[in-house]
């Protein structure tokens, strides 16, 4: 079954096109990474899939249903880049994660034993169960990100959509992420993630989609890191004398023309 299908998607902000004729698919059980430079349109692509950005042309299906008519949002767990800034009032880790149950429970029912169990299980999965009663603002950046993953997992989704989950996150939290996502994928879950660099997530990725200048520039296996971006601890000895081959630049991709900045 196809979890996400984008056909000829077009997105424009105020007359300026950000995505032009983008088509891609995510099959159930697949782990797909969307890669690209800052401003390439990769975040816009997932935000469009989630319905946060309106489509100017083309079609999007979610689990076989046109996005416009899709109602089973509990099947999708969204992990945004960072904790919303709009919180003037303290909230505990447990309270934030509990909002992940709303899609399943509906807004008129009070949380029951099943909801509490799901919140605990999600927090255990990301290794933050001991911080359940702490205000989220007292957590480190990586721990806040793990809180957001737990919030998405608490809804027991079939598809996890993550927008740059590892951006600016310490190494320990990155390893924790990789563990959480690996276990989710092993349970048969589908993952669509936007990344600037894959880091410890790389072995998990089944398919990579590279977005460049609002178009899909590459789709297939995770491309070999190009230039001086090969894995950690590599020796960069050759002086780039050889002619430039059209390789895909994975991480960091800042050298791509950032025309959409």
């Amino acid at each position: 079954m196809t979890a996400v299908s984008v056909r000829h998607g077009v997105v424009a902000y105020g007359g300026r096109s950000v995505l032009r004729d983008v088509s891609m698919q995510v099959e159930s059980g697949q782990v797909v990474a969307i890669l690209g430079a800052n401003g390439s349109g990769k975040s816009t692509l997932v935000r469009t899939i989630l319905g946060l950005v309106p489509l100017a042309g083309g079609e999007i299906d979610l689990f076989g249903t046109p996005q416009r008519r899709f109602r089973h949002w509990a099947r999708i767990g969204y992990v945004p880049q960072r904790l919303g800034a709009g919180s003037g009032v303290p909230a505990t880790v447990g309270e934030v994660v509990a909002s992940g149950r709303l899609a399943r429970r509906g807004i008129f029912r009070f949380p029951g034993a099943e909801d509490r169990a799901a919140v605990r299980a999600a927090l255990e999965d990301v290794g933050l169960l001991d911080r359940v009663n702490d205000p989220v603002t007292t957590l480190s950046g990586g721990q806040q990100q793990r809180t957001l993953i737990a919030r998405a997992l608490a809804g027991r989704p079939d598809l996890l959509v993550l927008d740059e989950p590892t951006a600016g996150v310490d190494a320990a939290s990155q390893e924790a992420f990789a563990g959480v996502l690996t276990r989710f994928a092993q349970r048969g879950g589908t993952i669509l993630l936007v990344a600037h660099e894959l880091g410890p997530l790389e072995p998990l990725i089944g398919k990579a989609v590279v977005v460049h200048d609002g178009r899909i520039a590459y789709e297939g296996k995770v491309p070999e890191p190009a230039g001086h971006h090969a894995g950690p601890g590599h020796d960069h000895l050759h002086p780039h004398a050889e002619p430039e081959r059209p390789v895909i630049c994975v991480a960091p991709t800042d050298r791509m023309p950032a025309s959409q900045q």
């Binding site: 949002w73 919303g84 709009g86 919180s87 009032v89 309270e95 909002s99 807004i107 008129f108």
Partner: protein, 290 residues
């Protein structure tokens, strides 16, 4: 308590108590959204409603509810569209509201004393009919804010996430706007349109000095609100001060006391030998992690 032998004092107390509970229960969502002053703005708009009511000789509370609900929905639609022009649009709406109110009240036959009554509250003149309106609407606000807490928390905490969760974000936002307008209008009799926002925001600000979670902040804010309201009515009856302003001053006193108290407590704790208070480390480095 000889004061409460009088019916009007009992009515004043009942009205103040319900506002003391309902205003912070709603205000916490506004504070969470960083819209602390929105109540103030809607209060300005409600004044036009009062003016309409006085002019056409209908119940000013009723017309204020209608006009401020329309205003609140307008503000919410502007907020939804974007921010830059929204700021100016809100300013126009607020000042238009207060100017319209003053002009309409001037056109009506009522004296200027009447205007002051709505601007700064006049609990003592609360009639039985007013009290029934305050009770019914106040309980409606309270029930909505408590029953929809998880959903409203989700929307105010992270609107995009709430959208992706399939929550009716727009409906919830409009509900919050309408409830804000309703609270402003029923609190108009107690604390007045110019002080209404204080009862929504100050108890929340006071509570969050010492609380760690949203639910406890809400409970503590409602407690502070209701205690300030009860104490305010009592004090104002004893020493003959305007009740609205007295309630607000007591709430601000609570804020100051809690702030100073919690700062002192933290300082004291720091000076006690820290051994038994050793906090768990932020990051536990497990074997094998780099």
């Amino acid at each position: 308590m000889s004061l409460f032998q009088y019916d009007f004092m009992l009515r004043a107390l009942a009205g103040a108590l319900i506002i003391g509970l309902a205003a912070p229960a709603l205000g916490i969502y506004l504070v969470q959204r960083r819209l602390s002053l929105i109540g103030d703005g809607i209060g300005h708009v409600a004044l036009t409603g009062v003016g309409v009511g006085l002019l056409v000789q209908q119940s000013p509370v009723l017309t204020a509810v209608i006009v401020s609900v329309v205003g609140a929905i307008g503000v919410e639609l502007v907020r939804e569209r974007g921010r830059t022009s929204g700021d100016l649009a809100l300013a126009l709406l607020f000042y238009g509201g207060i100017a319209g109110g003053v002009v309409l009240v001037g056109l009506s036959d009522s004296t200027s004393g009447n205007l002051v009554q709505y601007l700064f509250g006049s609990l003592i003149t609360t009639t039985r009919g007013d009290l029934i309106v305050i009770l019914v609407l106040g309980v409606a606000v309270l029930v909505a804010m408590l029953a929809l807490r998880p959903a409203l928390f989700a929307v105010c905490n992270d609107e995009e996430y709430a959208k992706v969760s399939g929550l009716p974000v727009r409906t919830l936002n409009l509900l919050l706007a309408v409830m804000t307008a309703v609270t402003v209008t029923i609190a108009m009799r107690t604390v007045g349109l110019l002080l209404v926002s204080a009862l929504m925001v100050v108890p929340v600000a006071a509570a969050q000095q010492v609380t760690r979670g949203f639910r406890t902040t809400m409970a503590a804010a409602m407690l502070i609100g209701v205690v300030a309201a009860a104490a305010g009515v009592t004090v104002s009856g004893e020493v003959d001060t305007p009740p609205g302003a007295t309630i607000v001053i007591l709430a601000i006193a609570a804020f100051l006391a809690i702030s100073v108290g919690s700062a002192l407590w933290r300082t004291l704790r720091r000076h006690i030998p820290a051994a038994q208070h050793a906090e768990p480390p932020d990051v536990v480095i497990e074997a094998g992690a780099r």
